[in-house]
């Protein structure tokens, strides 16, 4: 067995409970804050579409589909309702090749000049179809890590902790230093394990990611 718990299993449990409590506390506090760290701080089309007059002169984010190109007009609702004319959309939308076409999906940020005109300061265009690609490869990415962790590490019941599977053979070695421990393995044996793992895993998954 390796190094024993520095503060015993009780200390470890206590540290875990404290950290977990702290984390849950953060999630609860974030729920109460109006300023969610991941959300933008500006009103969006959800609020602006029904009562645009309340947001004139303010900076807002509008997302929608282009329904006209001269002038550039979006509909924030799929029904075609919630129409806003976009000023400077073709120059301020960042990831645009050429100009916006009818049917393109954009998310634009700017100042609402009047009830149905937005002066665009920044924005992006994004196809909603690409989202299924993103979900698929994200799922594969998650599976890859889970698979690697489960094949590389095992739960040791004696220490109630995860240890590398490759270290099982080195259990007799009681050296407390991680570095010297790792280096004390039979080098050729370890390389053999590496090789067999790495020949299959990254290759398989990166190929999927190429789609």
């Amino acid at each position: 067995m390796g190094v024993s718990e520095p503060f015993g299993q009780r200390g470890r449990l206590l540290a875990g409970v404290l950290l977990f409590t702290l984390l849950i506390g953060m999630l609860l506090v974030a729920g109460t804050t109006a300023n969610d760290p991941l959300e933008h701080q500006y009103p969006t089309d959800v609020e602006v579409t029904p009562t645009p007059e309340m947001y004139v002169g303010e900076q807002v984010i509008l997302g929608g589909r282009i329904v006209d190109t001269d002038p550039v007009t979006i509909a924030t609702r799929a029904s075609g309702y919630g129409r806003f004319t976009l000023v400077d959309a073709n120059t301020e939308v960042r990831n645009l090749e050429g100009s916006l076409q009818t049917g393109d999906h954009v998310t634009v940020f700017g100042t609402l000049e009047d009830e149905n005109t937005l002066v665009v300061e920044y924005g992006l265009t994004q196809s909603p179809d690409d989202r299924s690609y993103m979900f698929l490869v994200s799922f594969l990415g998650g599976l890859w890590v889970a698979g690697r962790f489960l094949t590389g590490w095992r739960f040791d019941r004696k220490t109630l902790a995860f240890v590398p599977r490759a270290d099982t053979k080195a259990q007799g070695d009681d050296s407390p230093d991680t570095n010297s421990r790792s280096l004390s393995f039979d080098e050729t044996d370890l390389k053999g394990t590496h090789e067999s793992k790495s020949t299959t895993e990254p290759d398989r998954h990166t190929k999927r990611g190429d789609r």
Binding site: A15, M26, A30, Y42, F162, E187, T188
Partner: protein, 169 residues
């Protein structure tokens, strides 16, 4: 948020690159860098269990977002390291933190509608750094570029261990 595959591939690239330099970084430790690179996206649990649903169950407001901030990820990787045997903990924290750092940098580089990234330092600060504007989370090229580099490194690593093994004979 860039897609998870890109994050994990970048974690692999960084982990394998470090393994060339540091002998104590083996396959299992490369996995830890990848796990760190994935960790901020634990907030994606919200896709399956939305904030509103948890809030409804608990009866108090709730948000998964802090899992994607600097402080939140420090707590998460500390918890992960506690699950590992003590002799691996210090190395694990370093590698998980490196993975997390790659994730946060990649996400700040994303193109956002406002040109601002998210509040990565929350709750210490609600400052939103300017976003890099480099790519969208739905773009395919970041994963392609990362995959190409990852395959090259994987081949390099394999070649390296093979030549080391043959010189041992």
């Amino acid at each position: 948020m860039a897609d998870v595959l890109t994050h994990v591939l970048v974690g692999y690239i960084v982990g394998v690159s470090l393994s060339f330099r540091y002998d104590w970084i083996k396959t299992e430790q490369v996995t830890l860098v990848m796990l760190g690179a994935l960790a901020p996206d634990f907030m994606k649990i919200g896709l399956f269990v939305p904030d509103g649903y948890v809030a409804h169950l608990l009866g108090v407001p709730f948000s998964w977002s802090p899992l994607h901030t600097l402080v939140g990820t420090v707590i998460v990787i500390s918890l992960i390291s506690l699950l590992l045997a003590p002799e691996y903990r210090k190395g694990a924290i370093i590698l998980l933190a490196i993975g997390v750092a790659t994730h946060l940098v990649l996400d700040i580089a994303l193109l956002t509608p406002t040109g601002e990234a998210y509040a990565v330092f929350w709750p210490l600060s609600s400052y939103r750094p300017p976003s890099g504007g480099l790519y969208l989370s739905t773009d395919r090229w970041p994963a392609l570029v990362a995959a190409t580099i990852a395959v090259a490194l994987w081949a390099g690593r394999r070649y390296r261990s093979e030549s080391a093994a043959s010189s041992d004979l």
